[in-house]
């Protein structure tokens, strides 16, 4: 026999079949229901935004890495995920060139400039959205009417429930505005997702479905989404806002399951993840209550991303941890 083909390597010699592309594809699968619902509500405009965003993200990653003579990484599908996530947090009527610009900014500036997958300090999709929101505030805050939703005849422009609350309307008025008979019916309407909003955020039901799928297959863990949602609930209630409405509207559910759980930008340790989630909920609620924007999930997550390296210091106590011996106080010993 020839010994040449015998491989030598350090153990382990067997590996889990779950690899990076598989994880990224499962995130895409989890986003399909929300994306499909967005296309149903807003038609081809939404589909255009989604396809443009993904294409721009993948192409810009491919070309940028070619330009800097780095290995091609589009095969890990992370650019597909970033592109899709960005599309789902944009209004359906966003001009396509803007979408493409946002996707390029997300991939090149927010991800590749920092070294690519895993090395980016900020969530690329949210950086893309924040960049567009600051550059083109009007376009990124103009909302389309979901298919078939009838509004009162005197409605001048389409607004999200959070816009209306920000303008000083009561929850009962907002419910009536969207044609709900009472607040309970309005809750149900929001849960199903029949209201204006970004392409992927509106249906809490479908976001939950995708999130639970990722939880079930172990791609994400419960700590981050649960702490984000719980902290949003608690802090809205403490600040006198309707806590159930807070969870059912805006991008908090989508953010909790798909944005805050982004591997590279959330803390690695369990304790860090819990504090990170709580911080997101708190900041999002503070922006909704006191900030200039009606919605604050994007900035809440980006702000907490900054703290991730520090939150990573909060490690679980290692097995068999022994606290360092306390220095003996000689004076006490002597008096004894």
């Amino acid at each position: 026999m020839s010994d040449k083909k015998i491989i030598l390597s350090s153990s382990p010699h067997t590996f889990s079949p779950v690899d990076t592309p598989r994880i990224m594809l499962s995130v895409v699968i989890a986003l399909v229901p929300a994306a499909a619902y967005g296309i149903y509500l807003y038609g081809l405009a939404a589909l255009g935004v989604i396809l443009t965003s993904i294409t721009a993200a993948v192409l810009s990653e491919f070309l940028f890495r070619k330009l800097i003579k780095a290995s091609t990484t589009v095969g890990d599908f992370s650019a597909v995920v970033s592109g899709l996530l960005l599309a789902l947090v944009l209004p359906p009527a966003t001009p396509l060139w803007m979408v493409a610009l946002g996707a390029v900014f997300a991939i090149v500036v927010a991800k590749e400039f920092f070294g690519g997958l895993g090395a980016n300090p900020f969530n690329p999709a949210l950086i893309g959205r924040a960049f567009l929101l600051m550059s083109f505030p009007a376009a990124i805050t103009s909302w389309n009417m979901p298919k078939g939703l009838a509004l009162p005849a005197d409605a001048v422009s389409t607004a999200t429930p959070l816009n209306l609350i920000k303008q000083g309307n009561s929850l009962a008025d907002v419910a009536k505005y969207f044609g709900a008979s009472d607040i309970g019916a309005f809750y149900r309407q929001l849960f199903i997702g029949y209201r204006p909003g970004t392409i992927g955020e509106s249906s809490i039901l479908l976001v939950l479905l995708g999130g639970l799928f990722l939880l079930a297959i172990g791609v994400i863990q419960w700590i981050v989404p649960v702490s984000v949602l719980a902290s949003t609930f608690v802090f809205s209630w403490l600040l006198g806002m309707d806590p159930v409405f807070s969870l059912l509207t805006g991008g908090i559910a989508f953010g909790a399951f798909f944005m805050a759980t982004d591997y590279a930008t959330r803390p690695l340790t369990e304790k860090g993840q819990a504090l990170y989630g709580i911080g997101i909920g708190l900041i999002a609620v503070l922006i909704r209550k006191f900030g200039g924007y009606p919605e604050g999930v994007t900035y809440a997550i980006l702000i907490m991303n900054v703290l991730t390296p520090f939150l990573n210091k909060l490690r679980t106590k290692k097995y068999g941890f022994l606290p360092p011996p306390k220095p003996v106080k000689p004076s006490k010993e002597a008096t004894k």
């Binding site: 382990p12 994880i23 679980t316």
Partner: protein, 453 residues
Amino acid sequence: MSIKTFRGGAHPSERKDRSQHAPIEKVSSVPQVVIPVNQHFGAPIQPLIKVGDFVRLGQKIADAEGRMTVPIHASIAGVVKKIEPRMQSNNIEGLCIVIEPKDTPEGESDREFMPPLDPFACRKEEALLRIREAGIIGMGGAGFPAHVKLAPTKPISLVIANAAECEPYLTIDERTLLEMPDKIVDGLSIVMKIINASEGIIAIEENKKYTIPLVQKAIEENPQVRAGMKIGIQVLKTKYPQGGEKMLITAITGRQVPSGGLPMDVGCVVSNVGTLCAIADAFREGKPLIDRGFTVTGEACKTPKNIIAPVGTVVADLAKSGVIDIDEESLSKVIFGGPMMGVAVPSTEIPVQKNTSGVLLMSVEEALRFEEKTCIRCSRCIRACPMKISPALLAIAIESGNYGEAEKIGLQDCIECGACSFVCPAHRYLVQRFRVGKQVLRALKQKEAQNVR
């Protein structure tokens, strides 16, 4: 019975079905044995014989003074052909004694065993000496001298017989449970007597639950148990590395072995079932550790089976003599031990040692190789690490040369189980980095200590 476990771990595909139904086959005739002189963890020993000497089965052929030494015995009767460095299963060349079988001169016995010794009638010192003279070391892998382990300096309340066998592919402990449960129980009772422990537990992973009635029967029939000795069975969740000493103790008792400490610090001693059988043989038959059971399997082994062969049996000889059939075409990796912690060796010309629990012959399809990709910070390794030392963060500290931080995270606590590298979706070299990192840290500390002086 409640099923216990530890926090963390991974679930590699078991692949035990290949060999679990094959009864242990005893191999006694081999063309040669190549016995590494130093198989134990501790001080080196020296050969006692010269080339050309005739040695009897069980004759002591290497030994030395010192607490951390264990002698070596001839595993076949024959003539010493060579004493020279050979490649061993730890990938290091070490002194080996090569013996070829030869018929005994007329009228002489071909074996040299010790007289049987009643472990329950002799003194503790006699018993420990017997275990040392029998050349017994931990057969689960580390090769720690048994007579040192069984003379703890702290009181022991619990002895755990380790039959978890959490390594995929390996089935020798499973077969031992099925075929010689009485010997395991006997060995366990002897160990309990020696270290004066009040309780013994045989730890079995859930995937071997079907052996419990047999083991239970063996326990009930054991004379020591009938006289009041307390021995039980604990089922553990099938999860890697459940059979790790620390994980086993924590699963069963809830206690954690303190960092840098030993099982005796929490009143426990853990012993592999193979070691317990060797201890029973050393007393009942006076037989030193000259053969051992192990699993030969893997896709490149057409005849996956469990065998007992003399210590020093060369794997290639097993194939030549038709005991196993190796698919040379597809053979791509030869591993001593299991796929998670085993050592890949350069050829099949390597001898089986006292601590060889399996020989894994991997095919091209099985011996997967991956390019290392960037860390996506998914934290799978952090959840899998049974020692809770955050492998991803530890790897970052090591890569940036920050050994102070690495030590603080727990580099020295790493048990090198490889669960982190197994689960990593980017195929990062995590445990591999920690192995090297441990050596670097040790060297740095030595340097530091010298500078202080």
